[in-house]
């Protein structure tokens, strides 16, 4: 794996990265110095690649501190494509003219803790929002007792004596505080690297339960494995076990986790240990803990006890003590917090304090292209992305996260195998196909059950859709594609509303009730409902109305609406029929 890059800011003036003291420091601490952007030879197994920066400059034979230049150099290596994993910062910088011994003579102010130049650098970093996530460890043997609290409040994560450091200690320091990439978790965005650091830290705190939250498709199981692989248990050769709770019938969950004794229930012909037992001396990852049935929650309480973990088979007389690390994942934190659904004692054992929240893909913009390339590579395909496609990848809001990206890429590869360059058009088409097939699946399930709507776990994707529609940025669309777009937009909007109308109609069966349900308006009248339906059709525009009415159910609804309106209009002698919509056009479809 590529070694991390660290930055060391000291007061050793000289050719950057190439003076005796720095060379020695590298050898003691297993660092590979970077000179003129390239790694120098010398260290075989290195802990990190080190860039040395002197925080000073020479002004007419005198060494002076250079705050502006120092911050500039820090920023040079802190951007989208590369990041310092850690900054080791000296505190005391000697200034003044060169003495007979070759180093700056030093001024009294250099030695005063209140005016340490390292403190000034730390101050400047902490007040620069773009550097707020830079991990800093102070590397100094100078007295800091007076200012220790201040240093910590300015964001210093730790302190280390230069002469106490060695390769092992530095590696531990980087592991604990550093932002490190991992070859198994693709990405180098700040939210991801911070999350990985949190996972490493929490994986080493004793035997605590760790709760992993994050939207669907963010990679909770992958993170579970990352936590496990960074724990001491992995080093001991223990195993990682996954329990998928989503979709498992309530009656089977108990058996799956705890197992049963022979004869415990009808059909229990043999004894069978549950995962809690088979995973002893290992790690168990419970995927979608929010789906754990209420009847199992009480039993799970004992297993989640971090002091003594107990499990008891169905029909068993005694408990078995097991030694396992428990990771719990959910995309619906609100369910765990709902006292009607979840026992509060169980929730308190889940350790919200040890929660790791995975960032959604839309917050990991720097990773999207890397992931897209990774998925191509995984498929063994060599293709490039056009600039438009890269822009598309970054501007799309990824409601289904990394899983959606992988699906889109594989969809594009299947539909356009001969294209060498993937453009934004392929992404547009693939997303529409993906959305349509998802919508069709939801339509089928909704038709099948009137309870489906309230049980649907996809309500958050509906929120995403609304947000997406409202905030869609047309500035990002090439000017050529904007021309003549209105009819298509009208049709898309009308179709979407018509789909909503269809689903609601399948639930309520009657027009006025349907619109009352859709608008949540208890005062809905037959005439108002008919007008609303016709309004939806009108949104499509005259040229698109026929396309919309090709759908039999919509056509039937519109026809009924027209009849209702006519009947009511005649009765109340109100408005004439609307333009473009006549009883004839609808009846021809009906």
């Amino acid at each position: 794996m590529k070694p991390p890059k660290i930055l060391i800011i000291d007061d050793l003036l000289g050719k950057e990265g190439n003076n005796l003291e720095r060379e020695a420091f590298c050898r003691v601490n297993g660092l590979m110095p970077i000179r003129e952007g390239k790694a120098a030879a010398g260290i075989d197994k290195c802990v990190a690649l080190a860039t040395f920066v002197s925080g000073q400059k020479i002004v007419s034979n005198s060494v002076e501190n250079d705050l502006e230049g120092t911050i500039r150099k820090i920023k040079d290596g802190w951007n989208e494509s590369e990041r310092w994993s850690l900054l080791l910062l000296d505190l005391h910088f000697k200034t003044g003219e060169f003495s007979i011994l070759g180093s700056p003579e030093g001024r009294l102010t250099d030695r005063s803790p209140e005016s340490y130049f390292g403190l000034q650098i730390l101050n400047a970093i902490s007040s620069d929002a773009s550097l707020s996530d830079l991990p800093i460890v102070l590397l100094s043997s100078m007295d800091r007792t007076q200012i220790e609290e201040r240093l910590a409040s300015l964001g210093a994560l730790g302190f280390v004596e230069k002469n106490d450091l060695d390769a092992k200690k530095l590696a531990d320091l980087i592991d604990l505080y550093g932002l490190l990439e991992d070859e198994k978790v693709i990405g180098r965005s700040l939210p991801l690297l911070k999350c990985l650091r949190e996972a490493r830290t929490k994986s080493r705190i004793g035997n605590r339960n760790i709760l992993i939250t994050g939207e669907s498709g963010t990679g909770k199981e992958l993170f579970g494995r990352y936590i496990f692989e960074n724990s001491l248990r992995f080093g001991r050769g223990e195993r990682f076990n996954t329990v998928f709770l989503s979709g498992v019938p309530e009656s089977l969950v108990d058996d799956l986790i705890f197992g049963h004794e022979k004869g415990a229930f009808f059909g229990a012909f043999d004894e069978r240990p549950g995962v809690a037992e088979t995973a002893n001396q290992g790690t168990v990852f419970f995927d979608e803990i929010g789906d754990i049935p209420a009847i199992v929650q009480g039993k799970l309480l004992r297993l989640l006890d971090e002091n003594i973990r107990e499990t008891r088979r169905i029909g068993g007389r005694s408990s078995i003590i097991v030694d396992i690390m428990i990771l719990l994942a959910t995309e619906r934190l609100e369910i765990l917090q709902d006292e009607k659904l979840f026992r509060s004692s169980l929730v308190s054992r889940m350790n919200f304090g040890s929660r790791i929240h995975l960032p959604p893909l839309r917050e990991r913009k720097d990773d999207i292209l890397l992931l897209a390339k990774h998925f191509l590579q995984k498929l063994g395909i060599k293709k490039d992305f056009s600039q438009g496609a890269i822009q598309w990848l970054k501007s799309y809001h990824w409601p289904r996260n990394v899983r959606e990206l992988e699906l889109l890429i594989s969809g594009i590869i299947l539909s356009t195998p001969d294209l060498n360059v993937i453009t934004e058009i392929q992404f547009d088409l693939a997303r529409k196909d993906d959305f349509r097939s998802k919508q069709e699946k939801e339509d089928v399930s909704l038709r099948g059950s009137s309870q489906a709507l309230s049980q649907s776990p996809k309500s958050e994707s509906l929120d995403d859709l609304l947000e997406f529609l409202q905030s869609f940025d047309f500035h990002l669309v090439p000017a050529g594609r904007l021309e003549g777009l209105l009819p298509y937009l009208r049709l898309a909007t009308a179709k979407m509303l018509a789909n909503y109308l269809k689903v609601s109609f399948s639930l309520k069966k009657q027009l006025t009730n349907t619109i009352r349900f859709m608008e949540n308006d208890p005062d809905m009248t037959t005439l108002k409902a008919a007008s609303t339906i016709l309004d939806i059709v009108e949104i499509a525009g005259k040229e698109n109305q026929e396309k919309l009415l090709e759908d039999d159910i919509i056509s039937e609804i519109v026809s009924k609406a027209l009849k209702n309106r006519k009947r009511k209009t005649i009765r109340s002698k109100l408005k004439p029929p609307r333009n473009g919509l006549t009883n004839d056009s609808s009846s021809s479809k009906g």
């Binding site: 005796l20 060379e23 020695a24 050898r27 011994l101 180093s103 030093g106």
Partner: protein
């Protein structure tokens, strides 16, 4: 108030001996322990600090020679209120005060110890110089004796630095 002498002592102790001398030796030691014998740093770095030592050694000599004059209370007679002391009183009082100060601080013993440690370091540096003059590269045959020399060099440097620390104003005042 940090005196000029104290600044120079600190520079020699911290910058030269601790950061440069001992720091470089630790780097070489790290290499030898990891059996990175081919790294030119192993010989070149030690050659360089041995060269620098000639300058630092002279600097240390000057520091020791001027120590009593710079650190003892005799300087306080140049400033108010002791500057008002009559010359005939100063004539006998200053040597008495300085003698008492020498006894209380054991400065002469500390200086002699520092001198001795410096001489020991000199001796090891000479030995290293002789080794380096006849050695072009490190190999399985000479690495054992070189490791011993490097270890001796580090030990002598640490002891010299400790003797310098005992000459610090803060330490003397105790």
């Amino acid at each position: 108030m940090i005196t000029d002498w104290e600044m120079r002592r600190s520079e020699l102790s911290h910058d030269c001996i601790q950061n440069s001398f001992i720091g470089v030796i630790r780097g070489v030691e790290g290499n030898l322990m990891a059996e990175r014998l081919a790294d030119p740093f192993n010989l070149e770095a030690v050659k360089e600090i041995a060269k620098r030592w000639a300058l630092w050694s002279n600097f240390a000599e000057d520091l020791f020679t001027s120590a009593i004059h710079e650190l003892s209370p005799q300087k306080t007679f140049s400033f108010w209120p002791l500057s008002n002391c009559p010359p005939d009183t100063k004539y006998w009082l200053i040597p008495v005060v300085v003698e008492f100060w020498k006894i209380r601080t054991k400065i002469e013993h500390k200086l002699s110890e520092a001198q001795q440690k410096k001489d020991s370091l000199n001796a090891v540096v000479d030995e290293i110089d002789r080794f380096l003059a006849t050695t072009k590269e490190l190999n399985a045959e000479n690495v054992g004796s070189y490791s011993v020399l490097v270890e001796n060099l580090k030990q002598a440097a640490i002891e010299f630095q400790m003797s310098l620390a005992r000459l610090s104003v803060r330490y003397i005042a105790l």
